[in-house]
Amino acid sequence: MSEQLYQRDVYGQALVKLGALDKNIVVLDADLSSSTRTNLFAKEFPDRFFNFGVAEQNMMATAAGLASCGKTVFLSTFAVFAAGRAWDQIRVSIGYNNFNVKIVATHAGITVGPDGASHQALEDIALMRVLANMNIIVPCDGPQTADAIVAAANTPGPFYIRLGRSKFPTIENKNEFKFGKAQVISEGDDVTIIACGIMVSEALLAVKSLAQKGIKARLINMHTIWPLDNETILMAAKETKFFVVCEEHNVIGGLASSVGEVVAENYPKKVIHLGIHNRFGQSGQPADLLKEYNLTSLDIEKAVLSNIS
C-alpha cells in the first residue's frame, strides 16, 4: 500500500513555504480555511491572509484588485463555490484582465462523499476550460499538489487548480512534474488510458491487472488540462489502438472532451469516456460512489476489454 495524503494538507504546507520565500504572496479564503488548509498560511502570515466570510464573489473580484497592485494571490474555497458561484467574477475580473490569481479549489468531484450533490463539483473543469487565459491543473496525488502550486506561483496569469477532499494514494516513480507536459506512467501500445486527479490511481490498478492478461496499456497522467499536451496525445493516437479517458467530472467539457477534440481533429481514434454521464452526484462513501458511477479500476479494465479487438 502506497502512502496516502490529503492534497489540501500538502497545499497548505506548500503555501507556507512559498509565503516565506515571497512576501508578495497573499492568500484569501471564504470561511473554509480549516477545510481548504489555507489556515496553515493564516497562522504563519496573518497580515497576508484575508477571510471574506461566506462571500465568494467578493473574494474573487477582490483578488483581482490585489493582483492589479502586483500581488500574487492564492485563494481557496470548495470547487462548486469557486468555479460555479463566482464564475462571472473569474471571467471578467480575473480572466479578461489576465491577472495573477491562483484559484485552488478543493473538494472537487464525486469523492467529496457524504455531503452529496450540492457539494460535488462535476462541472468545474468545463467551466474553467472555456475561459481564455485560464491555466488548469488537476494534480494526481499529494506530492504533485506541491508541484502544481509552485508552478502556478512561478507562471504569470490566472490558474485553476483542482484538489480533492479524500486522501489520494501517492503515485510512485513518476517523471519530474512539468507544467503543460503530460506524464507517461506506463508504456504500452494496445490502448492508451488517460486520467487526471484521483482517477490516475484507479487507472494504474487497471493497467497492472490488464498486464496480467497480456494487454499492454499506456497510462498518461494528464495533470495539466490547459494548456493541453497535444503532442503526447497524438503520439498515443498513432502508437496505440484507442483511448479510455477517466475523470471524476461530467464527461461533457472536461478531460475526455479535451482529448476527444484533439484526436478527432488530428488523428481520429476511438475515445471512450469514463466519467459522470448526465447525472448529479449523491451522498455516500467515496469508494461506494466511485462504484456507483462506474469509475473504479474494474470499470476501466472492463472498458478496455470490451473495446479491444
Partner: protein, 273 residues
C-alpha cells in the same frame, strides 16, 4: 505627481468639454451610453483634476491613487477625462468601439489609465477593496476611488463588498455613487427600490456624505472630507440628473444606452458651448 488645482470655474469648463467629447465620440461610434456618462461627469472631472494623484506619462507609477469605474458602461466619460488629462490624444476618442481600438465598448486594461476591466456590474467595489488592502499591506498612502451606479446597487456583490470594506476598515477607500435614479428599464424605485440608500450604507458601517453631484464646490469638499475619515470607508452619494447638460436627454430613460444621432449630437453640442 501633484496636479495643478483648478478653480471651480475652470472645473466647470473642463466638465463641459468632457460632455462635448462624450457626445462626439458616442455619435461617431453610433452606440454606447450617454445618460450615465453625463450624470457622473462633474464627479469624475473634479476627482481627476483636483484630487487624484497620477502621472499620465507613467500610468503604472506605483504610488498613484487608484480610480476604478465599476459602472463600466459609462466609460465614454472615463475615456474623455483620460484624454483631457493627457493619457492619450483626444483624437483617439473617435475610435471608440471600433475594431482594433484601445477604447473598448466597456473598460479594458488595454486603455492607458484603466486599472481593470469592468462591464459586468457589481464587481468594481471588490476591485477597489483589493487595491485598498494592497496599499495597507505595502504601507503606501495612495487612495482608492470607485465609481458606482445606482442601478448597479441592486447587485449582491456590491453589498458583499460593502460589508468587507467596512470589516477591513478601508479608510483609504472612497466610493462615489452616481445617484441619477434611472436604469435601463425605468426609474430605479419602480424597477427595484434601492432606498433608503444612505441609511443602507450607514448600516454597513460606512461614512456617508450626501451632495448635489453637479455642484463642484460640494463635490470638492466631499472629497476633502473623505480623506479625513479614519477607520471606515466613505461613500459620496451624489444626487445627479441622468443626461445632465443636454436638455433633451435630461431625465430621459431612453438615453441610458442609445447614442445620439448626428442631428441630436449637433443640437447637444450647441447646448454645451
Amino acid at each position: 505627481m501633484e496636479n495643478k488645482q483648478l478653480s471651480v470655474k475652470e472645473l466647470e469648463v473642463k466638465a463641459k468639454e468632457a460632455r462635448r467629447l462624450i457626445i462626439e465620440m458616442l455619435a461617431k461610434a453610433g452606440s454606447g451610453h450617454p445618460g450615465g456618462s453625463l450624470s457622473a461627469t462633474d464627479l469624475v472631472v473634479a476627482l481627476y483634476f483636483n484630487i487624484l494623484r497620477f502621472n499620465p506619462k507613467d500610468p503604472q507609477w506605483p504610488d498613484r491613487d487608484r480610480f476604478h469605474m465599476s459602472k463600466g458602461h459609462c466609460c465614454p466619460l472615463w475615456y474623455a477625462v483620460l484624454a483631457q488629462t493627457g493619457y492619450f490624444p483626444k483624437e483617439e476618442l473617435m475610435t471608440l468601439r471600433q475594431l482594433g481600438s484601445n477604447l473598448q465598448g466597456h473598460p479594458a486594461r488595454m486603455t492607458a489609465g484603466v486599472e481593470s476591466a469592468s462591464g459586468s456590474l457589481g464587481q468594481g467595489l471588490s476591485i477597489g477593496l483589493g487595491m485598498s488592502l494592497a496599499a495597507k499591506m505595502d504601507k503606501k498612502d495612495y487612495r482608492v476611488y470607485v465609481l458606482l451606479g445606482d442601478g448597479e446597487s441592486q447587485e449582491g456583490n456590491i453589498w458583499e463588498a460593502a460589508m468587507a470594506c467596512s470589516h477591513f476598515s478601508c479608510d483609504n477607500l472612497c466610493a462615489i455613487l452616481d445617484f441619477n435614479g434611472c436604469q435601463i428599464d425605468g426609474k430605479c424605485e419602480d424597477i427595484m427600490g434601492i432606498e433608503p440608500l444612505a441609511a443602507k450604507w450607514q448600516a454597513f458601517g460606512w461614512h456617508v456624505i450626501e451632495i448635489d453631484g453637479h455642484d463642484m464646490r460640494q463635490i470638492l469638499s466631499a472629497y476633502e472630507q473623505a480623506k479625513t475619515v479614519k477607520s471606515k470607508p466613505t461613500i459620496i452619494i451624489g444626487r445627479t440628473i441622468k443626461g445632465k447638460g443636454v436638455s433633451f436627454m435630461e431625465g430621459v430613460i431612453g438615453f441610458h444606452g442609445k447614442a445620439p444621432t448626428k442631428e441630436e449630437a449637433e443640437k447637444a453640442l450647441r447646448e454645451l458651448l
